[in-house]
């Protein structure tokens, strides 16, 4: 399983991560980032892609 953390002091809610992993990241009605803090191992590539495109480099994840 993957544990995902977004540093909300860095995140500017630009939503770039949403394009890469829409099942994990989404913008809510107030245009704020919401995310699911866990994902299955099979999604690692998607989560890594989301972390890579984040301009604030706010997304980290670990395999647990």
């Amino acid at each position: 399983m993957l544990e995902i953390t977004v540093d909300m002091t860095k995140c500017q809610h630009y939503g770039q991560c949403v394009f890469e992993a829409p099942n994990t990241f989404r913008l809510n009605d107030d245009d704020k980032l919401e995310y699911t803090a866990t994902a299955v191992d099979g999604d690692e590539e998607l989560i890594a892609a989301a972390a890579d495109v984040c301009p604030m480099q706010a997304i980290t994840f670990v395999r647990v």
């Binding site: 002091t9 860095k10 500017q12 630009y14 770039q16 913008l27 245009d31 890579d52 301009p55």
Partner: protein, 405 residues
């Protein structure tokens, strides 16, 4: 058979290319040559959170994923020459680096008013070392003159005001951001800077006089002389292509490449096995109807890297087809100034009509840049979802213009 891949430039574009090559199945050895002493790090915060002190520079390094664990990083080592016939790059210490495939990822440097070396009070913001030089000089009451009112100049002004610095911005035109954001948003940003106490002057800088033991003097073409404790030059960038002179590669504006990121000669022919990615690469873009342009936006290096890798791993005979099949990226950029967060997709500068698409009571607004009825760019202050939603429309324009450029 490709055995040795050499990437020159150890920043975002170099790192993303190494990753994309491994993802595309490249088994060759990968060496990255970089002149900075640091592993690849994220530049945009340099003029934002690092300058304000909200974050420290040691947080900037990009994570190095497992896929690139075997990459050899030769840091603090500048490429000074490329010999295409012998397929070698020479670095400053005289070492020769032979390659089967070469990736040029040397980005751009800050343009300067004068060629200066080692003047501590004349700063630019491009690298960690630049900010290490500038940051300690920014104290409450410091007189800072920023030359240039583009994105980096404006971000530097906003970040410095937050530190209590006295800021004057000199720009050649009153609204430099108009080209990127349209007139109304540029005016909103300009007003925000005035409210924050930033002095703005429209003039050309003719000289910087920096004698020790006296404040720096910035001379303007209207005769004014500004007194400064420190100066930041933010007057644009120049591609790092000096080491490529004499190779026959088209260097009119960075490195000219085709849709597969393959370097082109001045006669338009492809240089096999030499590629360019990131800020230094001038690639054809569908929004410009296939004309080549350098797009200095953070999302482009990763997209270039994918395109280059797809072509690099293909046999020579299949590369033309691969280059044609790659999909052009939607440019994306953002800026943070004070509590303003602006997000943009496409190339708004190519539009001829900026139309308000949506706004709300909080002052947030989204503009579309149109060429005729085609949406070529979208810019939003706040209202992220609305901006994101229009990205698809920009992509649609690109597809109609010919997505593969």
């Amino acid at each position: 058979m490709t055995e040795r891949i050499l990437i020159v430039g150890a920043s975002l574009a170099g790192l993303r290319t190494a990753e994309a090559l491994r993802r595309a199945g490249a088994t060759a050895s990968i060496t990255v040559l970089g002149d900075e002493p640091h592993l690849p790090y994220n530049r945009p915060p340099l003029s934002k959170a690092i300058l304000t002190g909200a974050d420290t520079a040691d947080t900037l390094q990009f994570p190095l994923r497992e896929s690139v664990a075997d990459v050899d990083w030769l840091l603090g080592s500048a490429a000074v020459d490329l010999d295409l016939d012998r397929a070698r790059v020479t670095s400053a210490d005289g070492t020769e680096h032979p390659f089967d495939q070469l990736v040029i990822a040397t980005g751009v440097r800050a343009r300067r008013v004068h060629t200066v070396a080692g003047r501590p009070r004349q700063c630019v913001i491009r690298t960690r070392d630049d900010v290490d030089q500038l940051r300690p000089q920014l104290q409450p009451g410091t007189r800072l003159v920023i030359i240039g009112n583009g994105l980096i100049g404006c971000e530097t002004a906003a970040s410095s005001r937050g530190l209590g610095v006295e800021v004057t911005v000199v720009g050649r035109s009153p609204l430099a951001l108009e080209r990127l954001f349209g007139r109304e948003l540029a005016e909103i940003f300009a007003a925000r800077h005035r409210d924050a106490g930033v002095a703005t002057i429209t003039a050309q800088v003719t000289d910087i006089v920096d004698l020790d033991e006296a404040p720096v003097q910035v001379h303007l073409d209207d005769g004014t002389v500004l007194t400064a404790d420190v100066v930041v030059e933010a007057i644009g960038s120049e591609p790092n292509t000096d080491w490529l002179h004499g190779t026959g590669i088209d260097l009119r504006d960075g490195v000219a490449v085709d849709a597969g990121m393959r370097a082109l000669r001045t006669d338009g022919s492809v240089v096999d096995d030499v590629f360019a990615v990131g800020d230094v690469a001038s690639a054809p873009h569908p929004l410009a109807h296939g004309a080549r342009r350098r797009i200095e936006h953070w999302n482009m290096p990763a997209e270039h890297a994918k395109r280059a890798a797809a072509v690099m791993v293909a046999p020579l005979a299949e590369r033309d087809a691969r280059a044609r099949a790659t999909v052009a990226p939607v440019p994306s950029m953002w800026t943070d100034q004070y509590q303003f967060h602006l997000l943009s997709y496409g190339l708004p500068a190519l539009g001829d009509d900026m139309r308000l698409i949506e706004s709300n009571d909080a002052g947030d607004r989204v503009y579309g840049a149109y060429r005729g009825d085609d949406l070529v760019g979208v810019v939003g202050l706040g209202m992220r979802s609305a901006v994101l939603a229009r990205r698809a429309e920009v992509l649609h324009t690109m597809t109609r213009y010919g997505a593969t450029a």
